[in-house]
Symmetry: C2
């Protein structure tokens, strides 16, 4: 119920923000609302709103007596940051689909009749979303000193995610470092920390939240990896075999390649990073990853991460009701189907 | 002398910042300092440091008795914002040269052996520079309330420049709107305003600075247009005919096309936006723009803008010494050769 309340409120505030931004952009030049509209389109397609929820839960676990109105404004920033990163990443990874519809660079390339123009406009749409994220974060009604601390956590996320994505695109084999920098940082730890700092969190509280956030961020990534191979495309909004064709070294792939079993991995090796891999081949790879035990081992690792995150909440110097929200979010992140 | 002091101090602080960032990045992963290094490389190639100087002058014109140490830290942010935008714009405009050397996406494409990987890494380098700009701005030793106001001006710049560049790449004919959003905003008005807000500027002071900033921003753009056609490539760091080949509708081009003279514009029309335009043809176009009076008219318009900016400083509610700096900067922006 609480999660649905946060989701609905964040959606409503995003909707209002885009309405205001489109009106303002139209006053500058009639061609500009179209750019704002691409950000709105992607953002309002859905998404899980887990980052805003983590931000609000982080706040509430520190400042349980404070009204949520201001922190819900700041939570919008976490969603806009996500929009910024999805737009840029989809272009870098040449992913044509996001949340079940064409990704932003694909839409803009069609609209402006050119791949480079579309890609450039998409990068700008991402940059604009980042500017809006900064606006949302720094305009929320908090004492300036707290905003300043939260801002510190915010640019730190931007820095880490740029590093993580960089290692990813240059094909670094440091899969775990990439996960820490790319997913754990901005999917879990960052939003939580921003919320906690806005709530006036002290060092012992921030440390407790970190002990919860890092393993949960890892669980988040492992769930993404599992969904990329075994998820329902209708729910994930990503075509079957997307990760495979893109050559992503997911936890499943790494596990299978490292397992010294006598299983024939040739279909995995030939499909990985091959843009011509068919849905049938992708399904065969999924079966292989199941048969060789990789799915089971990754699911076990995921559960271990979640347990670790939950244990970190025992006797943490946080508000008990906030802890209930954090526990619920951990389960939500672990079992989600998209 | 003052300008050289600001330039030297900003250079020194940039150097230290990059040193620290490269060391930190290296601790995360050995491949990461290379990304920081591309930002450092482009930033330290030179550049005029006019934006940091405007930021410091804006501050000093409001708070003449305050030490410059903190504002010089914030001024670094204006230069990092510029680095971010140059990296992205050069890729969007497919400009291969910047400050006399290969632009960032060209360097990274060579380094990682692929155009798309290089472009992606360049976008990430830009995003990283933006994160560093936010860090520099929000870490400077000012009361949090002032930082919050300056932050507002900062994301406003990011928003406007994204809009301006968007209009530019989709080939909008609204040349003046593009200039206001792209150049006037982040080259002159924005840095000045950030400095003024950090100094505690009140509304009447901010308005006075705006009356100086908008025409000066226009002058800045006109000087850029003139340098793009008549400048010395050794000084501008841009090859002859760069703007022409890119099809930029500079003030010179717009003037020539609008002038109802009996002059044969065919060489201009055939060279504009033609990637095969030779340096000889570019020189012929430059001669044409001189002969048809466009150069004279654009130079006159530039001078008028500068006069307007200078007049706005008469009886402005600003510190007299700050006004001297602002006057010197206006002259510097108007007469610069790069």
């Amino acid at each position: 119920v609480w999660l649905r309340f946060v989701q609905a409120t964040v959606e409503e505030r995003l909707r209002k923000l885009f309405e205001k931004k489109e009106a303002q952009a139209g006053m500058m030049h009639p061609a500009l609302p179209a750019l704002v509209d691409t950000i709105r389109d992607l953002t309002m397609r859905g998404g899980k709103r887990l980052r805003p929820a983590l931000l609000v839960a982080g706040f509430h676990s520190i400042a349980p007596d404070q009204d949520l109105d201001a922190v819900l404004d700041a939570a919008v920033a976490a969603e806009l940051l996500q929009t910024f990163l999805l737009i840029h990443d989809d272009w870098m990874d040449q992913d044509e689909t996001r949340r079940g519809r064409p990704s932003v660079h694909v839409m803009l390339s069609a609209k402006y009749g050119g791949i480079h123009t579309g890609a450039s406009a998409a990068i700008l749409a991402g940059n604009l979303a980042a500017a809006y994220a900064w606006e949302a974060l720094t305009s929320a009604a908090f004492p300036a000193e707290m905003v300043r601390l939260a801002v510190h956590a915010f640019w730190e996320m931007e820095e880490q995610v740029a590093f993580g994505q960089f290692l990813d695109i240059v094909g670094s084999s440091a899969v775990e470092t990439v996960h820490v920098l790319k997913s754990a940082s901005y999917s879990v730890r960052g939003p939580l920390r921003v919320g906690a700092l806005l709530g006036g969190g002290v060092e012992s509280q921030l440390e407790a939240l970190d002990r919860y956030a890092w393993p949960l961020g890892n669980a988040f990534q492992l769930r993404d990896d599992l969904l990329g191979t075994f998820g329902d495309p209708e729910e994930t909004g990503k075509p079957v075999g997307n990760d495979l064709r893109a050559g992503r070294r997911t936890a499943l792939v790494v596990d299978a390649l490292e397992a010294k079993d006598d299983i024939d991995l040739s279909i995995l090796v030939s499909s990985l990073g091959n843009p011509d891999t068919t849905p049938e081949e992708a399904t065969a790879v999924a079966r292989l990853l199941e048969d060789c035990g990789s799915r089971r081992r990754v699911e076990a690792a995921l559960q271990e991460c979640v347990d670790q995150a939950l244990q970190a909440l025992d006797s943490a110097p946080l508000d008990p009701h906030g802890v209930i929200l954090l526990r619920a979010l951990a389960e939500r992140i672990a079992i989600r189907s998209r």
